[in-house]
């Protein structure tokens, strides 16, 4: 087992594209879950409509710069459709409707009915050339030793972490505004906020739509990096990556999603490396029944156990204080 290599790979993941993408995605979810207390179990649906909104726009001959607002608009509309029937009801109804919507949107873009637009199971490729043509970074490898990225990755990472920074500043402004205070009031005690004349339903709907739009941006960013959108990438698991990240970093904290994402992807890659080494390379008796293809599922099962553990023992995140953690109001 080459522990140095595993650590380096994990370190690359911790500041790499997935970490940036999920930091952004989790900032959106953090607004919904951490600041407002909304159980959006279909965050992946927002990522999907964002990515497909952009990819389809380019595929139909539009510019990628037109595709971005199209994707955001699609996410806002989705938030409206999902939030309107559910946000007047108890928290679990939103969870039920959003998790169903995520799965059904995936099936819809995959279907032969939608294939003229979405290209069905094949997905859409090479829609971000415009973005990569702008890359000013000279060809080469940047970094130290084995910890290096090529010019394409550096360009993508620059975009990703800039978006994360922008979204964080936006959220900082937003949550310090009267709007943000109303939002937290709703999370802590909805009835109190209501009795002060706040339009609770309206605030929740806005939070769902804004958080969804940030999720859509994350979806677009991932799609740009891969130059590919494919329905089978948008599995429900992605939503819960974001949930785990939000809880790891501390729900309702400004830098929580960033910290959470870095830790999450480090652990995720690290576990993967260690498990692959244990199962494939080493000869350990009771692990003989497993092979390399089992690494993925076992990692997902561990991930589920980790989510449970966090929610039970550290719902305020790894660094947060329990007193400030009040999302279990209802």
């Amino acid at each position: 087992m080459d522990i140095v290599k595993i650590l380096i790979d994990a370190g690359r993941a911790a500041i790499g594209v997935p970490a940036a993408a999920y930091a952004l995605s989790s900032i959106g979810l953090n607004l919904q879950f951490g600041y407002t207390g909304l159980l959006n179990f279909g965050h992946v649906a927002f990522m999907l409509v964002g990515a497909y909104g952009m990819a389809i726009t380019v595929d139909l001959g539009g510019s990628i710069w037109l595709g971005v607002p199209v994707g955001i608009l699609a996410a806002v509309i989705l938030g409206l459709i999902l939030g309107f029937p559910t946000l007047r009801l108890r928290a679990d109804y939103l969870a039920i409707v959003t998790i169903a919507a995520g799965e059904i949107l995936r099936l819809a873009v995959r279907s032969s009915w939608a294939a003229p637009l979405t290209k069905g199971i094949f997905g859409i490729q090479r829609f971000a050339d415009e973005f990569f043509d702008l890359n000013p970074i000279p060809v080469g490898l940047y970094g130290i030793g084995r910890f290096r990225f090529d010019e394409r990755t550096v360009w993508v990472l620059l975009l990703g972490w800039s978006l994360v920074a922008l979204a964080t500043v936006f959220l900082w402004k937003l949550t310090r505004s009267p709007w943000g205070r109303a939002m937290r009031a709703i999370r802590e005690d909805e009835d109190a906020a209501l009795s002060l004349g706040k339009n609770v339903f309206g605030y929740k709907l806005q939070s769902l739509m804004i958080g969804g739009a940030i999720g859509a941006l994350a979806g677009m960013f991932l799609a740009i990096d891969q130059q590919n959108v494919n329905p089978d990438a948008y599995i429900p698991l992605l939503t819960f990556y974001a949930f785990t990240i939000v809880i790891l970093g501390g729900p309702g904290t400004l830098f929580g999603p960033i910290v959470g994402s870095v830790i999450f992807w480090f652990l995720f890659e690290f576990l993967d490396g260690v498990m692959t080494a244990l199962i494939v390379e080493m000869d350990i008796g009771f692990l003989d029944a497993l092979d390399a293809t089992d690494v993925g599922p076992i990692r997902f099962a561990l991930f589920g156990a980790g989510l449970m553990w966090l929610m039970i023992y550290r719902p305020q995140g790894l660094f947060g204080s329990k007193e400030e953690m009040l999302i279990d109001a209802r």
Binding site: F41, P85, L89, D92, I96, I104, S112, T293, L307, D328
Partner: protein
């Protein structure tokens, strides 16, 4: 163990995790064929027949034969596909020469290949497929599907009723039941019992698992005063643990039980269907009736409904609420496990079958009224029939979307559900 499905999951994960340019797609693989009715020397093309292709249990596409009887389905790549002719769409007077060969499970496609798939059609023995036959057989399939949903829904609804928890891991109890029965029925090292006998330990073990969950997880959490939102997140974490452990043990390959896997259509009262559908409907009806009688006429059942209605009031009138909750978990999980066995008999056993069913279970429970057992039964049947019958008008791929439509419409019109009591649920 190295199965296609696992690889698919891995591939998806890799795609997302590794920031590498996409591997070149090998483009151009298709499944194709020509449908001809052969009657002696006479050959006539058959138009308007739907052909579906699946890879590892998930649909990859469908096509309709054109005026020349030709059809073609583009597929994502090389692999072993299942190709199915949708018998309901055959025109009047045309039938498969061998009615069991409507599904070809092992169609191997090599890289870049345009694979020709053949279905042998002849003159219909049964007087073709008219509207009535299609409607009635879809109705029966819908009832069967509804029965399975109803079995799985009662537990979710009752557990919600007595504890307030929407259990997102409930679908995985369905899978667990199906998979345990598979081990007793058809697994390599298992005892190879008949599926009806194998169902017994499956149901008991899932029921025990439900009780254990309540004892070691949910009750301690309630005692700590954990809120609703964290509990729901815990349940979804648990669902990942169960589902992916099942994937490791069972592998991603969908497999049928040894019994009742393939059956020929029969005709009863003018309805064409496979016998197992009728058996599932009949058996489930008996089980649901028994559950209903239990809830209405026994002390425990009454206590259950009392706790679901108002837990504090029930406790103050001397009902042992903790015991009632434990029994609810055991009964609810057992019923979900039974639903899983029925689902496995009806189709195949697959690692994520329960999770796919979960969306329909939610629709059924919300439609009937969260917290009510009878509402869950009613909702299950309505959702099952609506989802199957919808394929008369819309593409098969969208039938799950019908359930979501029902769910959203219900929340807008009557959020307490058909049998729920109106109260402030906002």
């Amino acid at each position: 163990m190295a199965s296609q499905r696992v690889r698919t999951v891995l591939a998806i994960t890799l795609l997302l995790v590794v920031a590498s340019p996409l591997a070149a797609l090998a483009e151009g693989e298709t499944l194709r064929g020509e449908l001809e009715k052969i009657d002696g020397d006479e050959r006539t093309p058959v138009a308007g027949v739907t052909i579906e292709a699946e890879l590892d249990g998930s649909p990859v596409g469908s096509a309709e034969s054109n005026a020349d009887g030709e059809w073609e389905i583009p597929i994502p790549g090389a692999g072993t596909y299942l190709v199915r002719l949708v018998v309901d769409t055959l025109p009047e007077g045309v039938a498969l020469t061998d009615p069991t060969k409507f599904e070809l499970p092992n169609v191997n496609v090599r890289e870049g290949q345009n694979k020709t798939v053949r279905f042998n059609l002849g003159p219909g023995l049964v007087s073709g497929v008219g509207t009535w036959t299609r409607v009635s057989s879809l109705f029966v399939v819908g009832l069967k599907f509804g029965a399975i949903i109803a079995l799985a829904s009662i537990g979710l609804s009752l557990i919600f009723g007595v504890t307030g928890l929407v259990n997102f891991a409930h679908g995985d109890l369905v899978t667990l039941g199906a998979v345990i029965a598979f081990w007793f029925n058809a697994a390599g090292g298992g005892p190879a019992w008949h599926i009806l006998i194998a169902a017994v330990p499956a149901v008991l073990l899932v029921a025990a698992f439900g009780g254990a969950q309540e004892h070691w997880l949910w009750r301690p959490l309630r005692n700590r005063g954990t809120g609703l939102v964290p509990m729901i997140v815990v349940s979804i974490g648990l669902s990942f643990v169960i589902r992916y452990l099942i994937l490791v043990v069972f592998s991603g390959l969908p497999r049928p039980y040894r019994d009742y896997a393939i059956q020929n259509d029969i005709q009863i009262l003018g309805i064409t269907t496979v016998p197992k559908n009728l058996a599932i409907i009949g058996f489930t009806a008996v089980v649901l009736l028994a559950v209903g009688l239990f809830l209405i006429h026994t002390r425990l059942g009454t206590a259950m409904r009392a706790v679901a209605d108002n837990s504090d009031l029930a406790e103050s009138s001397g009902i042992d609420v903790q015991r009632v909750i434990r029994v609810t978990w055991i009964v609810g999980a057992g019923l979900a496990g039974l639903g899983g066995v029925m689902f496995g008999i009806s189709e195949q056993v697959q690692w994520d079958m329960g999770f796919k069913l979960l969306l329909l279970i939610f629709a059924a429970v919300v439609l009937g009224g969260l917290g009510t057992a009878f509402g869950a039964m009613l909702g299950g049947f309505i959702v099952g029939v609506a989802v199957e019958m919808s394929t008369l008008w819309i593409a098969v791929e969208f039938k799950t979307a019908v359930a979501l439509g029902i769910l959203i419409a219900m929340l807008l019109i009557r959020p307490q559900g058909l049998l729920g009591v109106k109260e402030r649920i906002g």
